[in-house]
Symmetry: C2
């Protein structure tokens, strides 16, 4: 069992949102603590995102509640009233201001919560919260995930720990956040510092993953710091947070809907970070690259195609680009039949790394994704029915 860091307790249960699996997750700090959050940029952001964004303006929070299997998005005024009712119900049980409660929700879009069942769940909340099992929290926030995502790290130079959970398998190309990730630490850090560190970490991790180019309406990445382990070095905290976030990011990519393989794309020798990330995303998002990886088809020309479609960069010159799979160069070197066989063999592994040197500068970026399978199509062709 991975315990939550000192200063946090939890409660995970089923309140009947969709089926009998856990769908209500509450994690609370012992008191109001430093907090930071990054949220979806979607123009269809749901009430949960709106409420949490507002509640985090002061960089402080007491608790976060997650309802899974229903996104409460595109639900109008009724959806907002329901979100506020959940927040107020949790606050009343914890004895705190509703403004110190954060909320997140994912699942089907365009349906109201079964609010009678939600009310019954709120009225049955225990206090104090009985648990501190992070794995139960990771399971409680799952929707169509096949495995829970959890990661932990210690902050160098002391006893402070960082424990994170994440969920999400589809509708994943986060823009400034991810589906839902919750990270807890007992490090002592003020809210403003935590916010700055968290945004840098998210930009290098969750903002570099894509399962299917679709950006969720519910992306939420929250970190709470209880302070119970005392003060830490800011750089050491950032390293620990990034370790946890990167692990969760790769777990999300590997568990992408229908995914059988993790694809890691590194673009280096780029003009700047924006060029490196744009080209890397073009590769990892290409359905033709994703299907080739799925079938271990040594069709490396599709990577050339994906680089080529970044046509806004007129400094990208096909005569200077180098493409590698793993350690094997495939372009511009001529690949013979034996080379194609070796490439296909490499692509049959569960981890495929594509490495492109643009030779337009000296900046690098790594992004993660997954293969595109008939499983993805099957899962999504009948999600609500």
């Amino acid at each position: 069992m991975v315990a939550l860091p000192t200063g946090f307790t939890s409660f995970v249960t089923n309140i009947g949102i969709k089926d009998s699996s856990d769908d209500f997750t509450l994690v609370a700090a012992d008191d109001v603590v430093s907090a930071a959050g990054v949220f979806t940029q979607s123009r269809f952001a749901g009430p949960s995102v709106m409420v949490s964004r507002k509640h985090l303006v002061d960089r402080r929070a007491r608790a976060v509640v997650v309802i899974s299997k229903n996104a409460n998005v595109a639900t109008g005024d009724q959806g907002m009233r329901n979100a506020l009712e959940v927040v107020k119900g949790v606050a009343a049980r914890l004895g705190c201001d509703p403004h110190d409660v954060l909320i997140a929700s994912t699942g089907v879009i365009g349906r109201q919560y079964p609010i009678d069942r939600v009310r019954a769940g709120l009225s049955a909340l225990p206090f104090p919260l009985p648990d501190h099992d992070a794995a139960a929290v990771a399971r409680g926030i799952m929707t169509t995930d096949t495995v829970p995502k959890i990661a932990e790290a210690t902050v160098a130079g002391g006893s402070a720990r960082v424990v994170g959970v994440a969920k999400g398998v589809g509708m994943i190309e986060p823009n400034m956040a991810t589906l839902i990730t919750l990270v807890f630490t007992d490090a002592l850090v003020d809210g403003t510092t935590l916010d700055a560190v968290w945004r840098r970490v998210i930009d290098r991790t969750f903002n570099c993953v894509s399962v299917d180019t679709d950006t969720s309406t519910s992306d939420t990445a929250i970190v709470l710091a209880s302070g119970a382990a005392g003060s830490v070095d800011e750089g050491a905290l950032e390293v620990a947070l990034e370790d946890v976030a990167r692990s969760l990011t790769k777990q999300v990519a590997r568990d992408g809907e229908g995914a059988e393989k993790l694809i890691e794309v590194c673009v280096d020798s780029a003009r700047d970070a924006e060029q490196a990330k744009t080209v890397a995303k073009a590769i990892v998002n290409s359905p033709l690259v994703k299907t080739a990886v799925h079938g271990a088809d040594p069709n490396w020309g599709r990577v050339a195609m994906a680089v080529g479609k970044c046509s806004k960069y007129d400094d990208i010159d096909q005569e200077r680009v180098v493409i590698r799979f793993g350690d094997q160069e495939v372009y511009p070197v001529a690949v013979d039949e034996a080379g194609l066989a070796r490439l296909s063999s490499y692509m049959r592994g569960t981890d495929v790394r594509i490495h492109v040197s643009l030779n337009t500068g000296s900046t690098a970026c790594t992004v993660w994704g997954c293969d595109l399978t008939d499983g993805y199509v099957r899962i999504n062709a009948d999600y609500t029915t």
Copy 2:
């Protein structure tokens, strides 16, 4: 049989590029005529695109040769020498300047032509060209297409005709052109006018189709005007060209790799054309929308998601957006179970039309795409192997 317009002849044969199907297509005008072309913006554009772009600077051409089943892309200096050898071979047989011969090629990337077989094919070219069957031309340029794409129209006010062919089922999100489309007319029009009209038509048709968001390295859209039918009204010519190009565009979308349904997305009441097209493309390209259409899953929330991910437009307000499938409004109106059943029934058709009103202005755009199926995955997981 659809005949080519007056003033054109053709020859289609197999020269052994990949298998025994037709892979060499030549269409020639009786003399040098007005011509215009639009090509891929890819940074990995192949030698065929480079040569044709250069040969069209004077807006005149005698013939176009298409080699299918091999893209001749990412093939370096040898690839360029091979493309020039094809152009020179054709010019020698027609008795014209090589500069008046255009070339296009699609198929696998990163492989050299089997140049000995290409040379044998060139040396066996008949002259004059024996045919004028546009359907044979449409078949000759196919790669993995399941049906040939052909369309014709007459130019109002006279006898001039427009006949076009196209190919392409995957790696299709043209940027300023499409895979390969060849359009022939016997209208009399100067090259400069033809070029301007052609660019406007392409922007409203082929630049509005997407099968899989992947932009080909070989996109080529060429029009040749023999002049044999005499002068025409420029507006009437544009209408006829657009009729042909739109028909071909929808044929390409409907025959997308693995596709079972045509998706048409109309976004109206947008701020400007760029916003309308960006939102429409976000919807038609969303793998979650495409899979929902495939499964007739009435999960309209995914359209809201796709609109929402166009987060750069802060004037898009979820409280003013209206979403319809066919004639049925699904948002913001509340859809009950009967409404979802009606929506699912509509989505079981072969043509699904999604209509979004942004209410940020008064501009509209229509784009076309197809559903995402396990067939797409199967086709592309083992294309070269």
